[in-house]
Symmetry: C2
Subunit: 398 residues, 2 copies
């Protein structure tokens, strides 16, 4: 094997990961006057109102030790694991046991943990496009290869024939994100059953199990009374990834979990690897977050308020002439941009203190993303600006 990083300060894989996130980091870190009194911050799924005192109090209580052993190195706090297992099993309609549930620092931490125990260098990971910002980078960081499959244009459905064509003898895992960011699509049962058939067939054909990593970070931000459907119900080799970053909107206090389907093949070996990996990769949440978890599991942001903002904006923007779907779940609107160049369009909005992300950040030029975690005031301030924008960029105006 040649030494790939002889000329560089950093590893080849790290350089590839850096290159992969370069564009999105530039979008996110662009100079913007977020402190301006008129600023409308639709950039990311970030809190724009003070965290609830209920949340703060739960963590404050959980940092108070009840024994000398409280802050020891040790296995995860079993009452938290038990609480999370029961809650997740109930929500998803799965029969789960605590031995298959691992506390993590959010969905991303669980994802990195899984990639580390499943992938060897050169393995391939199939993922959807648009992907979450960091999927590609975290796969490259494991010396593995991301293989992107576009979601169906317009509907953002799983393109099952394209997924099947993307699988090779090197495919070791597939990442699916449902509800999907940025489209807000909850993949329906028929698509997930179809996906399971493809993965079963391909695993058998290549004599190599393809694991499905289901990023369900938005699984509790559901609209219109919809229900979450997890692929774990249809494909036994599924890992479910959950984060509290969305349900509690306090993403810088990391907490979440991953769970194996009860029918996961070779569970014992995977359990051992997940336990060791959690220690050595530092995937386990801080003790305070673990002890807060049973209470945090019962807390959730005001989803009805997010849904109201969705409705307000979808109705108003459609009136203004935007093509915009009404998302089924999650934090985002993903309207079409009036012009193909989303960068130019979002730049125009930026100048007027309405901060959004261009479709180029999601491998979908011609769109832009609006986070519904903005305040109601920001929504009302932004709507006239969005109306001006579509008028300014419409063919008649030019």
């Amino acid at each position: 094997m040649e030494i790939s990083n002889r000329e560089s300060a950093i590893a080849g894989r790290a350089a590839r990961a850096l290159a992969a996130v370069g564009p999105i980091m530039r979008f996110l870190m662009q100079a913007r006057d977020l402190g301006h009194p008129d600023a409308c911050d639709f950039l990311a799924g970030n809190p724009l109102e003070l965290a609830s005192q209920e949340y703060v109090a739960a963590v404050q209580r959980a940092i108070q030790p009840d024994s000398p052993a409280y802050f020891r190195y040790g296995p995860p706090w079993q009452p938290a694991v038990a609480a999370v297992t029961a809650a997740l099993a109930g929500r998803l309609g799965l029969e789960l046991v605590p031995e298959d549930v691992f506390l993590t620092r959010g969905a991303s931490s669980g994802l990195v943990l899984l990639l580390r125990i499943l992938l060897d260098p050169g393995d391939e990971v199939v993922m959807m496009s648009p992907p979450w910002f960091f999927y590609e980078a975290v796969v490259l960081a494991e010396s593995a290869e991301p293989v992107k499959v576009p979601l169906t244009p317009g509907t953002f459905d799983l393109d099952l024939p394209a997924i099947e064509r993307a699988i090779t003898p090197r495919t070791r895992a597939m990442i699916v994100n449902t509800p999907h960011n940025p489209s807000g699509r909850i993949y329906p049962e028929d698509q997930l059953r179809g996906l399971a058939e493809i993965l079963e067939r391909a695993s058998a054909q290549h004599h190599r199990r393809i694991y499905l990593l289901s990023d369900e970070a938005y699984a509790r931000i559901l609209f219109d009374g919809r229900a979450m459907v997890t692929p774990a119900r249809f494909y036994p080799a599924t890992f479910v990834l959950h984060s509290y970053s969305k349900t509690l909107l306090a993403p810088s206090q990391r907490a979440g979990y991953l769970a194996m389907s009860p029918a996961m093949p070779e569970r014992e070996q995977l359990r051992r690897a997940l336990m060791l990996g959690s220690i050595s990769a530092g995937a386990t949440p801080d003790t305070a977050m673990q002890h807060a978890m049973p209470e945090l599991e019962r807390q959730i942001i005001d989803v009805a308020a997010v849904e109201r903002r969705r409705d307000r904006m979808v109705v108003a923007m459609r009136d203004q002439g935007y093509a915009v779907e009404s998302p089924e779940a999650g934090f985002y609107l993903f309207p079409r941009s009036p012009i193909a160049d989303g960068l130019e369009f979002c730049g125009w909005l930026d100048e007027r203190h309405v901060y959004t992300l261009p479709g180029e950040a999601f491998e979908r030029p011609g769109y832009f993303r609006i986070s519904l975690t903005a305040t109601d005031e920001m929504v009302e301030r932004a709507l006239p600006v969005l109306a001006d924008a579509i008028r300014s960029f419409s063919p008649a105006a030019s």
Copy 2:
């Protein structure tokens, strides 16, 4: 490249990492009656007394948000970075800038972050033996190769000629642990200068920079008025790794930092990779721990009490006939076992509720390790048992 994990549920690298930690995990997780009223817990550097209310209060205050942005995704909290930078620079006699200091979840989290950005598959990492329990596993988990060099028998000094012989064109990094666990050795200036010369020479010879990762987790647990000496003063390509797990004895609330030497080559590229890596690998501490850091940096456990326990045990055990060095720093005594088989010896102690770890857990049969984080009561209860032990196992008694 052949597909190495076709027949296994987990990756080849994960299987190797699991195998590497198998023995120590078995030692650590052996059934022991730690709840027995006579239990003397000398197993690990773990808290055995209730955490200080000062510590708890600092974290409780730090979880209280002062703005809607408090719990956002975002860069590390700059006042914490500034406080840590000033404190570390003062303690080590280095000129540091905040741009070269990265908040981590302890030394292990910083170590994994560095391995991810420095190593490609097949790269070699030189480490000392005895090593920390997880060095080998975390290197194997990056598809890289650990290369172990024994410390000098008896004194646990750096064996510089052996280190030089262990370096190959594939060597990318070396891990040094000072103060050293389990020997308590602080490597002196002359040895670190010698090490720096070797690493400079080898880097030039192979046209490849060898990075030094200096695990300084015990750097503030110093005895006899001794001072810490960091290799960063002598070798520019050094990363200093610090953890609060020892200075605060609350290891399950993760916090620490890593710092580059001011003379680090190619700092700009490394900064970018460390920033991205911190995000994607989840190396950054929770917001509460970040906000507590300026205050935690001023807190420290009662090191004088640890030193008193060291003196009490060293004097008493020497009287009893044990060969035991008085450690310069850290949490541990590392006496010789009266018999070559440390497992048998520690098993005998286990039966009498005196829980220690055998030298076999540290690649040094014929020794055993005692953690001085035990309480004074445990020390007094254990000393007569240790006296019985050496009598029972001495040649005259058999």
